[in-house]
Protein backbone atom coordinates (compact mmCIF):
# COMPACT_ATOMS: atom_id res chain seq x y z
CA UNK A 1 0.00 0.00 0.00
CA UNK A 2 1.03 3.62 -0.37
CA UNK A 3 3.10 4.80 2.59
CA UNK A 4 2.07 7.84 4.64
CA UNK A 5 5.14 9.79 3.46
CA UNK A 6 4.26 9.45 -0.22
CA UNK A 7 0.72 10.51 0.51
CA UNK A 8 2.01 13.63 2.28
CA UNK A 9 4.28 14.52 -0.61
CA UNK A 10 1.64 14.11 -3.27
CA UNK A 11 -1.42 15.38 -1.47
CA UNK A 12 0.10 18.41 0.17
CA UNK A 13 -2.04 21.33 -0.91
CA UNK A 14 1.05 23.55 -1.28
CA UNK A 15 2.07 21.61 -4.40
CA UNK A 16 -1.00 22.95 -6.19
CA UNK A 17 0.29 26.47 -5.77
CA UNK A 18 3.05 27.72 -8.14
CA UNK A 19 4.17 30.64 -6.00
CA UNK A 20 5.60 30.33 -2.48
CA UNK A 21 3.12 30.00 0.35
CA UNK A 22 3.24 33.70 1.17
CA UNK A 23 1.34 34.62 -1.99
CA UNK A 24 -1.13 31.74 -1.87
CA UNK A 25 -4.79 32.57 -1.34
CA UNK A 26 -5.19 29.48 0.78
CA UNK A 27 -2.16 28.31 2.70
CA UNK A 28 -4.04 25.79 4.81
CA UNK A 29 -3.22 22.11 4.80
CA UNK A 30 -5.93 19.81 3.44
CA UNK A 31 -7.18 18.92 6.90
CA UNK A 32 -8.41 22.47 7.60
CA UNK A 33 -11.96 23.30 6.60
CA UNK A 34 -12.14 26.30 4.23
CA UNK A 35 -14.41 28.97 5.59
CA UNK A 36 -16.60 29.31 2.51
CA UNK A 37 -17.59 25.68 2.40
CA UNK A 38 -21.24 24.68 2.37
CA UNK A 39 -21.90 21.17 3.51
CA UNK A 40 -24.44 20.68 0.81
CA UNK A 41 -25.78 22.67 -2.08
CA UNK A 42 -28.14 20.49 -4.04
CA UNK A 43 -30.68 21.77 -6.56
CA UNK A 44 -32.98 18.78 -6.57
CA UNK A 45 -35.90 18.41 -4.24
CA UNK A 46 -34.64 14.96 -3.18
CA UNK A 47 -32.98 14.91 0.23
CA UNK A 48 -29.31 14.01 0.49
CA UNK A 49 -28.12 11.13 2.64
CA UNK A 50 -27.11 12.14 6.16
CA UNK A 51 -23.74 10.39 5.93
CA UNK A 52 -22.66 12.54 2.96
CA UNK A 53 -23.08 15.73 4.95
CA UNK A 54 -20.73 14.51 7.67
CA UNK A 55 -17.71 13.99 5.39
CA UNK A 56 -16.12 16.96 3.66
CA UNK A 57 -16.78 16.83 -0.08
CA UNK A 58 -13.76 16.31 -2.33
CA UNK A 59 -15.28 18.26 -5.21
CA UNK A 60 -17.54 21.25 -4.73
CA UNK A 61 -19.15 22.73 -7.81
CA UNK A 62 -20.62 25.96 -6.56
CA UNK A 63 -23.20 27.67 -8.80
CA UNK A 64 -20.99 27.33 -11.85
CA UNK A 65 -21.78 28.61 -15.31
CA UNK A 66 -19.35 27.90 -18.14
CA UNK A 67 -18.98 29.32 -21.63
CA UNK A 68 -17.00 28.24 -24.70
CA UNK A 69 -17.34 31.66 -26.37
CA UNK A 70 -16.02 34.22 -23.92
CA UNK A 71 -19.29 34.48 -22.06
CA UNK A 72 -21.65 35.13 -24.98
CA UNK A 73 -23.59 31.92 -24.35
CA UNK A 74 -23.41 29.57 -21.39
CA UNK A 75 -22.97 25.85 -22.10
CA UNK A 76 -23.39 25.10 -18.40
CA UNK A 77 -25.78 27.09 -16.23
CA UNK A 78 -25.82 27.42 -12.44
CA UNK A 79 -24.50 23.97 -11.67
CA UNK A 80 -24.16 23.13 -7.99
CA UNK A 81 -23.20 19.73 -6.70
CA UNK A 82 -20.84 18.20 -4.17
CA UNK A 83 -18.99 14.93 -4.54
CA UNK A 84 -18.03 13.01 -1.41
CA UNK A 85 -14.72 11.18 -1.15
CA UNK A 86 -14.28 7.58 -2.36
CA UNK A 87 -17.59 7.43 -4.14
CA UNK A 88 -18.40 6.83 -7.76
CA UNK A 89 -20.56 9.55 -9.28
CA UNK A 90 -22.10 9.13 -12.72
CA UNK A 91 -22.99 12.01 -15.03
CA UNK A 92 -25.76 11.05 -17.46
CA UNK A 93 -27.79 12.93 -19.99
CA UNK A 94 -28.49 13.20 -23.72
CA UNK A 95 -25.81 14.25 -26.19
CA UNK A 96 -24.87 17.90 -25.85
CA UNK A 97 -26.21 18.31 -22.32
CA UNK A 98 -22.85 19.44 -20.94
CA UNK A 99 -21.77 16.43 -18.90
CA UNK A 100 -18.40 16.00 -20.63
CA UNK A 101 -17.91 19.77 -20.52
CA UNK A 102 -18.40 19.74 -16.76
CA UNK A 103 -16.08 16.76 -16.40
CA UNK A 104 -13.37 18.58 -18.31
CA UNK A 105 -13.80 21.62 -16.08
CA UNK A 106 -12.80 19.55 -13.09
CA UNK A 107 -9.23 19.22 -14.30
CA UNK A 108 -9.22 22.36 -16.41
CA UNK A 109 -8.90 20.49 -19.69
CA UNK A 110 -11.17 23.19 -21.14
CA UNK A 111 -8.26 25.63 -20.69
CA UNK A 112 -7.01 24.23 -23.98
CA UNK A 113 -9.90 26.08 -25.66
CA UNK A 114 -8.79 29.71 -25.64
CA UNK A 115 -12.22 31.26 -25.55
CA UNK A 116 -13.52 29.10 -22.71
CA UNK A 117 -14.24 30.61 -19.34
CA UNK A 118 -16.08 30.10 -16.08
CA UNK A 119 -18.74 32.82 -16.33
CA UNK A 120 -19.51 32.70 -12.64
CA UNK A 121 -19.23 30.39 -9.66
CA UNK A 122 -16.38 28.35 -8.30
CA UNK A 123 -15.06 24.83 -8.53
CA UNK A 124 -13.24 23.74 -5.41
CA UNK A 125 -11.26 20.55 -5.07
CA UNK A 126 -10.23 19.66 -1.53
CA UNK A 127 -11.33 23.12 -0.57
CA UNK A 128 -9.14 24.94 -3.09
CA UNK A 129 -10.57 27.04 -5.93
CA UNK A 130 -8.96 25.37 -8.94
CA UNK A 131 -9.21 28.49 -11.12
CA UNK A 132 -7.38 30.69 -8.62
CA UNK A 133 -4.56 32.62 -10.26
CA UNK A 134 -1.84 30.87 -8.32
CA UNK A 135 -3.03 27.33 -9.00
CA UNK A 136 -0.99 25.33 -11.48
CA UNK A 137 -3.13 23.41 -13.96
CA UNK A 138 -0.31 20.91 -14.38
CA UNK A 139 -0.21 20.17 -10.66
CA UNK A 140 -4.01 20.00 -10.60
CA UNK A 141 -4.00 17.33 -13.27
CA UNK A 142 -1.69 15.19 -11.15
CA UNK A 143 -4.30 15.24 -8.42
CA UNK A 144 -7.22 14.88 -10.81
CA UNK A 145 -6.46 12.24 -13.41
CA UNK A 146 -8.43 11.49 -16.53
CA UNK A 147 -9.25 8.42 -18.60
CA UNK A 148 -10.62 9.12 -22.05
CA UNK A 149 -13.19 7.51 -24.28
CA UNK A 150 -10.63 6.35 -26.78
CA UNK A 151 -7.74 4.71 -24.99
CA UNK A 152 -4.56 6.65 -25.72
CA UNK A 153 -1.42 4.95 -24.41
CA UNK A 154 1.87 6.59 -25.33
CA UNK A 155 3.74 4.93 -28.20
CA UNK A 156 6.18 3.51 -25.67
CA UNK A 157 6.60 0.28 -23.77
CA UNK A 158 4.02 -0.83 -21.22
CA UNK A 159 6.52 -0.12 -18.45
CA UNK A 160 7.37 3.35 -19.73
CA UNK A 161 3.70 4.26 -20.03
CA UNK A 162 3.11 3.65 -16.35
CA UNK A 163 6.47 5.05 -15.22
CA UNK A 164 6.17 8.23 -17.30
CA UNK A 165 4.29 10.32 -14.75
CA UNK A 166 6.61 9.22 -11.97
CA UNK A 167 9.75 9.91 -14.00
CA UNK A 168 8.74 13.49 -14.79
CA UNK A 169 8.18 14.00 -11.06
CA UNK A 170 11.84 13.19 -10.66
CA UNK A 171 11.65 9.62 -9.41
CA UNK A 172 14.70 7.89 -10.92
CA UNK A 173 15.40 5.01 -8.55
CA UNK A 174 14.85 1.83 -10.57
CA UNK A 175 13.52 -0.32 -7.74
CA UNK A 176 11.09 2.41 -6.68
CA UNK A 177 9.85 2.68 -10.25
CA UNK A 178 9.57 -1.11 -10.60
CA UNK A 179 7.54 -1.27 -7.43
CA UNK A 180 5.26 1.59 -8.44
CA UNK A 181 4.73 0.14 -11.94
CA UNK A 182 3.82 -3.28 -10.58
CA UNK A 183 1.49 -1.77 -8.00
CA UNK A 184 -0.29 0.34 -10.60
CA UNK A 185 -0.63 -2.52 -13.06
CA UNK A 186 -2.01 -4.74 -10.30
CA UNK A 187 -4.36 -1.95 -9.32
CA UNK A 188 -5.62 -1.85 -12.90
CA UNK A 189 -6.09 -5.65 -13.00
CA UNK A 190 -3.53 -5.89 -15.79
CA UNK A 191 -0.36 -7.17 -14.11
CA UNK A 192 -0.88 -10.89 -14.71
CA UNK A 193 -1.51 -10.30 -18.40
CA UNK A 194 1.55 -8.14 -19.06
CA UNK A 195 4.15 -8.97 -16.42
CA UNK A 196 6.23 -10.98 -18.86
CA UNK A 197 6.28 -8.32 -21.57
CA UNK A 198 6.64 -5.01 -19.77
CA UNK A 199 9.20 -3.76 -22.25
CA UNK A 200 7.08 -4.47 -25.33
CA UNK A 201 5.05 -1.75 -27.00
CA UNK A 202 1.80 -0.74 -25.36
CA UNK A 203 0.19 -0.57 -28.78
CA UNK A 204 0.45 -4.34 -29.08
CA UNK A 205 -2.21 -4.83 -26.41
CA UNK A 206 -5.90 -5.36 -27.09
CA UNK A 207 -8.32 -2.44 -26.76
CA UNK A 208 -9.50 -3.44 -23.32
CA UNK A 209 -5.94 -3.95 -22.15
CA UNK A 210 -4.88 -0.56 -23.54
CA UNK A 211 -7.68 1.11 -21.63
CA UNK A 212 -6.66 -0.65 -18.44
CA UNK A 213 -3.09 0.46 -19.12
CA UNK A 214 -4.34 4.03 -19.33
CA UNK A 215 -6.01 3.52 -15.98
CA UNK A 216 -2.75 2.13 -14.56
CA UNK A 217 -0.92 5.15 -15.92
CA UNK A 218 -3.45 7.43 -14.22
CA UNK A 219 -3.33 5.76 -10.82
CA UNK A 220 0.48 5.56 -10.83
CA UNK A 221 0.72 9.21 -9.80
CA UNK A 222 -1.75 8.59 -6.94
CA UNK A 223 -4.39 11.16 -7.85
CA UNK A 224 -7.14 12.01 -5.42
CA UNK A 225 -9.78 11.97 -8.16
CA UNK A 226 -10.14 9.97 -11.36
CA UNK A 227 -12.32 11.38 -14.12
CA UNK A 228 -13.60 8.95 -16.74
CA UNK A 229 -15.21 10.10 -19.97
CA UNK A 230 -17.17 7.12 -21.34
CA UNK A 231 -14.27 4.77 -20.64
CA UNK A 232 -16.01 1.70 -22.05
CA UNK A 233 -17.63 2.96 -25.23
CA UNK A 234 -14.79 1.68 -27.40
CA UNK A 235 -14.70 -1.72 -25.70
CA UNK A 236 -16.43 -5.06 -26.24
CA UNK A 237 -18.77 -6.41 -23.51
CA UNK A 238 -16.16 -8.58 -21.77
CA UNK A 239 -13.61 -5.77 -21.65
CA UNK A 240 -16.38 -3.44 -20.45
CA UNK A 241 -17.24 -5.82 -17.62
CA UNK A 242 -13.58 -6.00 -16.62
CA UNK A 243 -13.28 -2.22 -16.52
CA UNK A 244 -16.50 -1.94 -14.53
CA UNK A 245 -15.21 -4.49 -12.04
CA UNK A 246 -12.02 -2.44 -11.87
CA UNK A 247 -13.95 0.75 -11.15
CA UNK A 248 -15.72 -0.96 -8.28
CA UNK A 249 -12.36 -2.02 -6.83
CA UNK A 250 -10.76 1.41 -7.39
CA UNK A 251 -13.48 3.22 -5.46
CA UNK A 252 -11.86 2.04 -2.24
CA UNK A 253 -8.89 4.31 -2.88
CA UNK A 254 -10.06 7.03 -5.27
CA UNK A 255 -12.98 9.36 -5.85
CA UNK A 256 -14.33 8.62 -9.31
CA UNK A 257 -16.53 10.64 -11.64
CA UNK A 258 -17.71 8.84 -14.76
CA UNK A 259 -19.58 10.17 -17.75
CA UNK A 260 -21.58 7.42 -19.40
CA UNK A 261 -24.21 6.91 -22.04
CA UNK A 262 -25.18 3.56 -20.62
CA UNK A 263 -27.92 3.69 -18.04
CA UNK A 264 -27.15 0.16 -16.95
CA UNK A 265 -23.51 1.02 -16.42
CA UNK A 266 -24.45 4.05 -14.31
CA UNK A 267 -26.82 1.95 -12.22
CA UNK A 268 -24.22 -0.80 -11.80
CA UNK A 269 -21.11 1.12 -10.81
CA UNK A 270 -22.16 4.43 -9.30
CA UNK A 271 -23.24 5.47 -5.81
CA UNK A 272 -24.80 8.75 -6.94
CA UNK A 273 -25.99 9.90 -10.34
CA UNK A 274 -26.39 13.39 -11.76
CA UNK A 275 -28.76 13.90 -14.70
CA UNK A 276 -28.02 16.85 -16.98
CA UNK A 277 -30.17 18.35 -19.72
CA UNK A 278 -29.42 21.33 -21.97
CA UNK A 279 -26.66 22.57 -19.70
CA UNK A 280 -28.57 22.33 -16.46
CA UNK A 281 -28.44 19.88 -13.58
CA UNK A 282 -31.92 18.39 -13.36
CA UNK A 283 -31.52 15.83 -10.62
CA UNK A 284 -28.69 14.54 -8.41
CA UNK A 285 -29.36 11.74 -5.96
CA UNK A 286 -28.54 8.21 -4.90
CA UNK A 287 -28.29 6.01 -7.96
CA UNK A 288 -30.88 3.58 -6.70
CA UNK A 289 -33.42 6.39 -6.26
CA UNK A 290 -32.72 7.90 -9.67
CA UNK A 291 -33.31 4.61 -11.44
CA UNK A 292 -36.24 3.28 -9.45
CA UNK A 293 -38.18 6.41 -8.53
CA UNK A 294 -36.74 9.66 -9.89
CA UNK A 295 -38.20 12.88 -8.53
CA UNK A 296 -38.19 14.74 -11.86
CA UNK A 297 -40.35 13.81 -14.80
CA UNK A 298 -37.56 14.71 -17.24
CA UNK A 299 -35.25 12.28 -15.49
CA UNK A 300 -37.79 9.50 -15.78
CA UNK A 301 -38.42 10.31 -19.44
CA UNK A 302 -34.71 10.17 -20.27
CA UNK A 303 -33.79 7.01 -18.39
CA UNK A 304 -36.77 5.09 -19.73
CA UNK A 305 -35.92 6.07 -23.29
CA UNK A 306 -38.82 8.37 -23.95
CA UNK A 307 -36.62 11.15 -25.28
CA UNK A 308 -33.00 12.13 -25.72
Amino acid sequence: MVTPSTIDKLFNMDTLVKEPAAKATISDTPSTTPKTMDQHTQPSSAASTPSATETKPVIEIDNVSFSYDNGKTNTLRDISLDIAPKQVTAFIGPSGCGKSTLLRCLNRMNDLVETSMISHGEIRIMGQDIHAKDVSAIELRKQVGMVFQKYNPFPKSIYDNVAYGLRIQGIKNKSKLDEAVEKSLRGAALWDEVKDRLKTSALGLSGGQQQRLCIARTIAVQPKVILMDEPCSALDPIATAKVEQLIMDLRQDFTIVIVTHSMQQASRVSDRTAFFYLGELIEYDETNKIFTNPAEQRTEAYISGRFG
Binding site: A241, Q245, M248, Q264, S267, R268, N288, T292
Partner: protein, 240 residues
Protein backbone atom coordinates in the same frame (compact mmCIF):
# COMPACT_ATOMS: atom_id res chain seq x y z
CA UNK B 1 -13.31 -19.15 -22.95
CA UNK B 2 -13.89 -18.60 -19.28
CA UNK B 3 -17.27 -20.06 -18.28
CA UNK B 4 -18.24 -19.83 -14.68
CA UNK B 5 -19.26 -16.90 -12.57
CA UNK B 6 -19.88 -13.47 -14.04
CA UNK B 7 -16.94 -11.11 -14.49
CA UNK B 8 -18.72 -8.64 -12.24
CA UNK B 9 -18.39 -9.97 -8.69
CA UNK B 10 -21.41 -7.99 -7.63
CA UNK B 11 -23.61 -9.79 -10.19
CA UNK B 12 -22.56 -13.16 -8.78
CA UNK B 13 -23.01 -12.03 -5.20
CA UNK B 14 -26.45 -10.56 -5.89
CA UNK B 15 -27.69 -13.76 -7.53
CA UNK B 16 -26.29 -15.90 -4.73
CA UNK B 17 -27.96 -13.79 -2.05
CA UNK B 18 -31.20 -13.73 -4.02
CA UNK B 19 -31.29 -17.52 -4.32
CA UNK B 20 -30.35 -18.19 -0.71
CA UNK B 21 -33.02 -15.80 0.61
CA UNK B 22 -35.57 -17.79 -1.39
CA UNK B 23 -34.20 -21.10 -0.11
CA UNK B 24 -34.55 -19.73 3.41
CA UNK B 25 -38.22 -19.14 2.67
CA UNK B 26 -38.53 -22.75 1.53
CA UNK B 27 -37.04 -24.20 4.70
CA UNK B 28 -39.12 -21.85 6.83
CA UNK B 29 -42.31 -23.00 5.08
CA UNK B 30 -41.33 -26.63 5.72
CA UNK B 31 -40.63 -25.89 9.36
CA UNK B 32 -43.93 -24.08 9.83
CA UNK B 33 -45.83 -26.97 8.21
CA UNK B 34 -44.01 -29.46 10.39
CA UNK B 35 -44.74 -27.53 13.59
CA UNK B 36 -48.40 -27.06 12.78
CA UNK B 37 -49.12 -30.75 12.11
CA UNK B 38 -47.00 -32.01 15.00
CA UNK B 39 -48.82 -29.51 17.18
CA UNK B 40 -52.09 -31.09 16.07
CA UNK B 41 -51.00 -34.69 16.55
CA UNK B 42 -49.13 -34.18 19.79
CA UNK B 43 -51.77 -31.73 21.05
CA UNK B 44 -49.03 -29.16 21.64
CA UNK B 45 -50.24 -25.55 21.52
CA UNK B 46 -46.67 -24.15 21.63
CA UNK B 47 -45.76 -25.76 18.31
CA UNK B 48 -48.84 -24.26 16.70
CA UNK B 49 -47.96 -20.84 18.09
CA UNK B 50 -44.41 -21.14 16.76
CA UNK B 51 -45.73 -21.75 13.26
CA UNK B 52 -48.05 -18.77 13.48
CA UNK B 53 -45.36 -16.40 14.78
CA UNK B 54 -42.79 -17.45 12.20
CA UNK B 55 -45.06 -16.43 9.34
CA UNK B 56 -44.28 -12.74 9.91
CA UNK B 57 -40.65 -13.39 9.01
CA UNK B 58 -41.78 -15.26 5.93
CA UNK B 59 -43.80 -12.26 4.77
CA UNK B 60 -40.78 -9.97 5.19
CA UNK B 61 -38.59 -12.39 3.28
CA UNK B 62 -41.03 -12.33 0.37
CA UNK B 63 -40.77 -8.54 0.19
CA UNK B 64 -36.99 -8.82 0.35
CA UNK B 65 -36.84 -11.37 -2.48
CA UNK B 66 -38.96 -9.17 -4.74
CA UNK B 67 -36.82 -6.15 -3.92
CA UNK B 68 -33.62 -8.05 -4.68
CA UNK B 69 -35.06 -9.46 -7.91
CA UNK B 70 -36.01 -6.02 -9.14
CA UNK B 71 -32.57 -4.65 -8.30
CA UNK B 72 -30.91 -7.45 -10.27
CA UNK B 73 -33.15 -6.82 -13.29
CA UNK B 74 -32.39 -3.11 -13.16
CA UNK B 75 -28.67 -3.28 -12.65
CA UNK B 76 -27.59 -6.23 -14.66
CA UNK B 77 -30.30 -6.65 -17.32
CA UNK B 78 -29.96 -10.43 -17.04
CA UNK B 79 -30.61 -12.47 -20.15
CA UNK B 80 -31.13 -16.13 -21.01
CA UNK B 81 -30.79 -18.48 -18.04
CA UNK B 82 -30.14 -15.62 -15.62
CA UNK B 83 -33.37 -13.89 -16.66
CA UNK B 84 -35.41 -17.09 -16.34
CA UNK B 85 -33.88 -17.77 -12.95
CA UNK B 86 -34.81 -14.31 -11.65
CA UNK B 87 -38.38 -14.49 -12.89
CA UNK B 88 -38.89 -18.09 -11.70
CA UNK B 89 -37.41 -17.27 -8.30
CA UNK B 90 -39.77 -14.37 -7.73
CA UNK B 91 -42.72 -16.66 -8.42
CA UNK B 92 -41.33 -19.51 -6.35
CA UNK B 93 -40.83 -17.23 -3.37
CA UNK B 94 -44.49 -16.26 -3.65
CA UNK B 95 -45.40 -19.97 -3.62
CA UNK B 96 -43.31 -20.56 -0.51
CA UNK B 97 -45.07 -17.65 1.17
CA UNK B 98 -48.47 -19.14 0.27
CA UNK B 99 -47.37 -22.51 1.67
CA UNK B 100 -46.37 -20.82 4.90
CA UNK B 101 -49.74 -19.03 5.03
CA UNK B 102 -51.47 -22.38 4.69
CA UNK B 103 -49.31 -23.75 7.51
CA UNK B 104 -50.56 -20.85 9.65
CA UNK B 105 -54.17 -21.70 8.81
CA UNK B 106 -53.46 -25.30 9.75
CA UNK B 107 -51.84 -24.18 13.01
CA UNK B 108 -54.76 -21.93 13.94
CA UNK B 109 -57.27 -24.65 13.20
CA UNK B 110 -55.16 -27.18 15.10
CA UNK B 111 -55.11 -24.88 18.09
CA UNK B 112 -58.88 -24.88 18.01
CA UNK B 113 -59.05 -28.65 17.69
CA UNK B 114 -56.75 -29.42 20.58
CA UNK B 115 -58.86 -27.20 22.82
CA UNK B 116 -61.72 -29.64 22.24
CA UNK B 117 -62.01 -33.35 22.85
CA UNK B 118 -59.22 -35.74 22.11
CA UNK B 119 -59.64 -37.41 18.74
CA UNK B 120 -58.31 -40.96 18.44
CA UNK B 121 -58.34 -40.98 14.64
CA UNK B 122 -56.20 -37.88 14.17
CA UNK B 123 -53.16 -39.90 13.18
CA UNK B 124 -54.96 -40.90 9.99
CA UNK B 125 -53.83 -37.55 8.60
CA UNK B 126 -50.18 -38.55 8.79
CA UNK B 127 -49.80 -40.22 5.35
CA UNK B 128 -51.20 -37.12 3.64
CA UNK B 129 -48.95 -34.87 5.70
CA UNK B 130 -45.87 -36.97 4.96
CA UNK B 131 -46.59 -37.07 1.23
CA UNK B 132 -47.06 -33.31 1.02
CA UNK B 133 -44.13 -32.49 3.29
CA UNK B 134 -41.83 -34.67 1.18
CA UNK B 135 -43.13 -32.99 -1.96
CA UNK B 136 -42.40 -29.54 -0.53
CA UNK B 137 -38.93 -30.66 0.53
CA UNK B 138 -38.29 -32.03 -2.96
CA UNK B 139 -39.50 -28.74 -4.43
CA UNK B 140 -36.87 -26.90 -2.38
CA UNK B 141 -34.17 -29.30 -3.62
CA UNK B 142 -35.39 -29.11 -7.21
CA UNK B 143 -35.12 -25.30 -7.07
CA UNK B 144 -31.77 -25.32 -5.33
CA UNK B 145 -30.19 -27.59 -7.94
CA UNK B 146 -32.45 -26.60 -10.86
CA UNK B 147 -32.97 -30.36 -11.11
CA UNK B 148 -35.29 -31.22 -14.02
CA UNK B 149 -35.66 -34.85 -13.02
CA UNK B 150 -36.74 -33.94 -9.51
CA UNK B 151 -39.17 -31.37 -10.92
CA UNK B 152 -40.72 -33.83 -13.40
CA UNK B 153 -41.15 -36.42 -10.63
CA UNK B 154 -43.04 -33.82 -8.59
CA UNK B 155 -45.29 -32.86 -11.48
CA UNK B 156 -46.15 -36.53 -12.00
CA UNK B 157 -47.35 -36.75 -8.41
CA UNK B 158 -50.41 -34.60 -9.02
CA UNK B 159 -52.76 -37.59 -9.26
CA UNK B 160 -51.28 -39.12 -6.16
CA UNK B 161 -51.92 -36.00 -4.08
CA UNK B 162 -55.57 -35.75 -5.11
CA UNK B 163 -56.14 -39.47 -4.50
CA UNK B 164 -54.53 -39.38 -1.09
CA UNK B 165 -56.55 -36.30 -0.13
CA UNK B 166 -59.78 -37.97 -1.19
CA UNK B 167 -59.02 -41.19 0.67
CA UNK B 168 -58.10 -39.52 3.92
CA UNK B 169 -60.86 -36.93 3.85
CA UNK B 170 -63.31 -39.75 3.46
CA UNK B 171 -62.08 -41.32 6.70
CA UNK B 172 -62.85 -38.13 8.57
CA UNK B 173 -66.09 -37.27 6.81
CA UNK B 174 -67.38 -40.73 7.68
CA UNK B 175 -66.91 -39.89 11.34
CA UNK B 176 -68.96 -36.75 10.86
CA UNK B 177 -71.69 -38.68 9.05
CA UNK B 178 -71.83 -41.15 11.92
CA UNK B 179 -72.40 -38.20 14.25
CA UNK B 180 -69.69 -39.25 16.64
CA UNK B 181 -69.20 -37.01 19.70
CA UNK B 182 -66.03 -35.41 18.27
CA UNK B 183 -67.70 -34.46 14.98
CA UNK B 184 -66.76 -30.77 15.33
CA UNK B 185 -63.09 -31.61 15.56
CA UNK B 186 -63.33 -33.88 12.53
CA UNK B 187 -65.00 -31.11 10.53
CA UNK B 188 -62.02 -28.92 11.31
CA UNK B 189 -59.62 -31.67 10.30
CA UNK B 190 -61.31 -31.81 6.90
CA UNK B 191 -60.24 -28.21 6.36
CA UNK B 192 -56.69 -29.13 7.32
CA UNK B 193 -56.75 -31.97 4.78
CA UNK B 194 -57.78 -29.53 2.05
CA UNK B 195 -54.97 -27.16 3.01
CA UNK B 196 -52.44 -29.97 2.94
CA UNK B 197 -53.61 -30.82 -0.56
CA UNK B 198 -53.09 -27.14 -1.51
CA UNK B 199 -49.52 -27.28 -0.25
CA UNK B 200 -48.93 -30.30 -2.47
CA UNK B 201 -50.27 -28.31 -5.43
CA UNK B 202 -47.94 -25.44 -4.57
CA UNK B 203 -45.01 -27.85 -4.62
CA UNK B 204 -46.05 -28.81 -8.14
CA UNK B 205 -46.32 -25.14 -9.16
CA UNK B 206 -42.77 -24.66 -7.91
CA UNK B 207 -41.66 -27.65 -9.97
CA UNK B 208 -43.18 -26.06 -13.09
CA UNK B 209 -41.21 -22.88 -12.46
CA UNK B 210 -38.04 -24.93 -12.06
CA UNK B 211 -38.74 -26.53 -15.46
CA UNK B 212 -39.09 -23.03 -16.94
CA UNK B 213 -35.85 -21.81 -15.36
CA UNK B 214 -33.87 -24.88 -16.38
CA UNK B 215 -35.28 -25.59 -19.83
CA UNK B 216 -37.04 -22.36 -20.92
CA UNK B 217 -40.29 -24.30 -21.55
CA UNK B 218 -43.39 -22.90 -19.85
CA UNK B 219 -45.43 -26.02 -19.07
CA UNK B 220 -48.07 -24.46 -16.87
CA UNK B 221 -51.67 -25.39 -17.77
CA UNK B 222 -50.56 -28.09 -20.18
CA UNK B 223 -51.41 -31.76 -19.87
CA UNK B 224 -48.17 -33.35 -20.95
CA UNK B 225 -44.52 -32.69 -20.41
CA UNK B 226 -42.98 -31.87 -23.81
CA UNK B 227 -40.33 -34.22 -25.13
CA UNK B 228 -37.76 -31.40 -25.23
CA UNK B 229 -38.04 -31.14 -21.46
CA UNK B 230 -37.68 -34.90 -21.01
CA UNK B 231 -34.59 -34.81 -23.23
CA UNK B 232 -33.09 -31.96 -21.23
CA UNK B 233 -33.75 -33.94 -18.05
CA UNK B 234 -32.01 -36.96 -19.51
CA UNK B 235 -29.03 -34.76 -20.41
CA UNK B 236 -28.83 -33.57 -16.83
CA UNK B 237 -28.65 -37.18 -15.65
CA UNK B 238 -25.89 -37.96 -18.17
CA UNK B 239 -23.86 -34.95 -17.14
CA UNK B 240 -24.11 -35.82 -13.45
Amino acid sequence: MHTGGHILDSFNDSLTEFKSTTLMMGSAALRNLDNSIRGLIERDKTLCNQAIAADDDEDLLELEVDRQGMAIMLKYRPVASDLRLVIATMKISSNFESASDLAVSIAKRSRKIIKGQEIPRVTAIEPLYELVSTMLKNAVTAYSDLDLNQAIALINQEEEVHKMHKKISRKFSREVENECPEYREYLNILFICRWLERIGELAIDIAEEVVFAASSEDIRHSDDIPSSVLEAAANQTNQA
